[in-house]
């Protein structure tokens, strides 16, 4: 993974000093509330319903065990002993004291972490595929490109006061695991016929109030020009994006207003004037970036031998077998596997992880996965390089620590924002709904038989829980001070990205487990043997679901 040099350390320590001074000036009344607002946001600090919330960047989801242990220590020393994995692979603390935030940032800087640009109207953390570098379907490892773009976007002087927040995601595999079609900019690494590497560029996707699938504005951009091209996109947006209404300020609104073709034309025109500049990358720049993401010291392992061992271990252990099928993925290296640690046991807010669990992940990473772990946008954690012969031991350890729930990709592995329990934007609570649904579906065998099913919950239309792209999406709404939940079906954040359709009138919180049960029943009655939920939905449409759910309600 990327390791800081003297430049990175120098820049980050200057940032910590800058924010310490800004916090001090705010506390003495020298900086007004309005002036401090964007400054604290660009250091990750929100003021929430009950306490401030501090969001820490995890660049493209990668963490080493030292960082995990530091995150654990911060959770213990400055917070209530836990933190939260967000839907953009970041870590959030829910209970820090404002006065102590500069100290927290200083502690993070020691382990090469920060909250810079994790919030505010600027370029946010670059996200990517949690299986980068290990996935069999990978075309190009996206991480060196993520790092190059992370550095370009960090402390960018021109783009710190954009019309609105700006999110970039990069995918380097055939299957999109980074949801690039619903980002402000989505970058797909591609290889031309002659072997040249480049990017397919999507712009203007996003969730929130106005969900939009991104438009392709360029099929192939040679990789050497990526920074100039991004600069062109951002400049067009910075100068022309709407600033009169924050709900119309995202780039998706500009792209739609101009039309994707006209927007692309404006970008190309700008790019023509700045391309082939010192910001054009050279071969050696890619080599330098790639040097940080070399393969770990894999052993030469025999795949057949590993498979035989697993067969023996699963033969008389159904629980291990299920975990293996749901939580373990193929790896490009023979004899290795990638393991997802579930942060979704029933009764715990999805994505929450305690200090001792973080330390446990660090230990497991050291023991089984070259000292590295990753966060996922589905709010779980991954150990990406585990020997298959170690899986049984890892499973036992993970089970003891509480993250071996064999539910990855299933209905109970739901994505959920912090909601009205924490967030000042929320219209409704989301965590209790998640828990009620998890309790309704507490039979693991039943959930397992349902197969892949994405259920996403947001407590308001800002859509942090990505409800528009859930196979089943749930949105909390407020009606005259009462919390209701709108249900939608048919969304997807993957290659076949689509936005879910609203099923009908919203329901009270107490009805939600039964509503989801009814939807699942309709699926079960209609599915063919091989189908997962989204396939059945795409085949039979929304009507049968609607009919049954509302027949029952009336």
């Amino acid at each position: 993974m990327y390791i800081y040099d003297k430049y990175d350390h120098e820049i980050l320590s200057q940032r910590v000093a800058q924010f310490r001074d800004q916090t001090q000036r705010y506390l003495t009344g020298e900086l007004s509330e309005a002036e401090f607002l964007p400054l604290r946001l660009q250091n990750g600090l929100y003021v929430q319903r009950l306490a401030p919330m501090l969001r820490i960047n995890v660049p493209y989801g990668m963490l080493n065990s030292e960082q995990l242990r530091r995150l654990a220590r911060i959770a213990r020393d400055y917070d209530k002993g836990y933190c939260h994995v967000s839907t953009r692979q970041n870590i959030q603390y829910n209970w820090p004291n404002l006065e102590e935030v500069p100290d927290i940032l200083a502690e993070l800087a020691e382990v090469e972490m920060h909250g810079t640009q994790s919030s505010g109207n600027c370029i946010r953390n670059i996200t990517s595929d949690q299986f980068a570098g290990t996935a069999p379907d990978e075309l190009v490892d996206p991480r060196p490109y993520c790092e190059i773009i992370r550095q370009w976007s960090s402390f960018h002087p021109e783009f710190a006061f954009l019309p609105r927040k700006f999110k970039i995601a990069i995918s380097g595999s055939q299957m999109d695991r980074a949801a690039i079609q619903v980002h402000d900019i989505g970058l797909q690494l591609v290889t031309a016929d002659n072997g040249d590497i480049g990017f397919k560029i999507l712009v203007g996707g996003g969730l929130g109030r106005t969900p939009v699938i991104g438009s392709v504005i360029r099929e192939f951009l040679p990789r050497i020009e990526i920074l100039n091209y991004l600069e062109a996109i951002l400049r067009v947006y910075n100068l022309h994006g709407r600033r009169d209404n924050k709900y119309k300020a995202r780039i998706k609104i500009l792209v739609r207003a101009m039309g994707p073709e006209a927007f692309a034309e404006a970008v190309e025109k700008e790019w023509t004037q700045i391309k082939e500049s010192p910001s054009t990358l050279r071969e050696e720049d890619f080599d330098n970036a790639k040097a940080f993401f070399t393969e770990p010291a894999y052993e030469a392992l025999d795949e057949t031998q590993a498979a035989t061992l697993l067969d023996q271990q699963t033969a008389d252990n159904v629980a291990f077998s299920k975990w293996l099928q749901r939580n373990v993925r193929d790896h490009k290296k023979p004899g290795y596997a990638a393991v997802t640690l579930s942060l979704k046991p029933t009764g715990i807010a999805p994505g929450d992880v305690t200090d001792s669990q973080l330390e446990k992940v660090a230990d497991l990473a050291d023991q089984f996965s070259f000292g590295e772990a990753r966060t996922t946008h589905e709010q779980n954690m991954v150990l990406a390089d585990v020997k298959k012969s170690d899986l049984f031991a890892l499973w036992q350890a993970a089970r003891e620590a509480g993250f071996a729930t064999p539910n990855i990709g299933t209905l109970t592995d739901l994505i959920c924002c912090p909601g009205g329990d924490f967030c000042s934007l929320a219209n409704a609570k989301s965590i209790p709904i998640a828990e009620a649904i998890q309790r309704q579906f507490n039979d693991l065998d039943y959930v397992y038989d349902l197969g892949d099913l994405d259920l996403n919950i947001s407590g308001c239309m800002n859509a942090c829980g990505h409800h528009h792209v859930g196979h089943i999406g749930i949105l909390g709404v407020d009606k005259k001070g009462q919390e209701f939940y709108q249900v939608m079906l048919g969304g997807s954040a993957s290659n076949d990205a689509s936005l879910a359709k609203v099923l009908g009138p919203a329901f009270g919180a107490e009805d939600m487990p039964q509503v989801v049960q009814t939807i699942v029943n309709v699926f079960l009655e209609n599915r063919t043997q091989e189908e997962i939920f989204i396939d059945t939905y795409n085949r039979i449409g929304i009507a049968p679901f609607k009919e049954r759910v509302y027949a029952k309600a009336s």
């Binding site: 940032r15 010192p278 330098n288």
Partner: protein, 168 residues
């Protein structure tokens, strides 16, 4: 006399700033003496104003540096306005003036920007800072120019990004 920060020093502001006209830009009378006039007035009257060496132009955040374009090189001073500090368009206009239109004179930020933006503004080519708020302690404020001394990406101040300097 009001003060401003220019090239890191606190000096008297010798320039008056002409507000946007309510009437037609071509009939507005441009006063004598050093004056910064709205872009619209410049565009309407540049024929005869271009002979003066004490006329600068200010560009509002919803106006484009492209409209000044080649005229930039002929001017002694250009100002970019911040109607509000969160309005970041002037950062782009400043860079365009320096990097595309070759402006080498005084590039001044005016309006409601705040001291915490000084370092980034300076990276975008701004070298003079005239706060709307006269109560700002300029001696304190100009410290923010030094918030960062090293940068990742290219800017008007440093055309070579760090990735090239690292390997040089």
């Amino acid at each position: 006399m009001p003060k401003l920060v220019k090239d890191g020093a606190i000096i008297d502001d010798q320039w008056a700033l002409l507000a946007k006209p309510d009437t037609d830009a071509d009939t507005v009378e441009v006063p004598t003496g050093a004056v910064i006039i709205p872009l619209s007035v410049w565009l309407a009257q540049k024929q005869h104003l271009s002979e003066r060496t004490d006329v600068g132009v200010w560009i509002d955040s919803d106006e484009s540096a492209n409209d000044l374009a080649e005229d930039a090189k002929t001017l002694p001073l250009i100002a970019v306005n911040f109607p509000a500090f969160m309005d970041g368009r002037s950062f782009s206009n400043a860079r365009l003036l320096r990097e595309r239109f070759g402006f080498t004179g005084e590039l001044r930020a005016v309006g409601g920007f705040i001291r915490d933006q000084l370092c980034y503004l300076s990276r975008c080519g701004v070298n003079a800072f005239r706060f709307d708020d006269d109560s700002v302690n300029l001696e304190e404020a100009k410290k923010s120019l030094e918030d960062f001394t090293e940068f990742y990406q290219a800017g008007s101040d440093q055309p070579t990004p760090l990735f090239r300097r690292r390997t040089a």
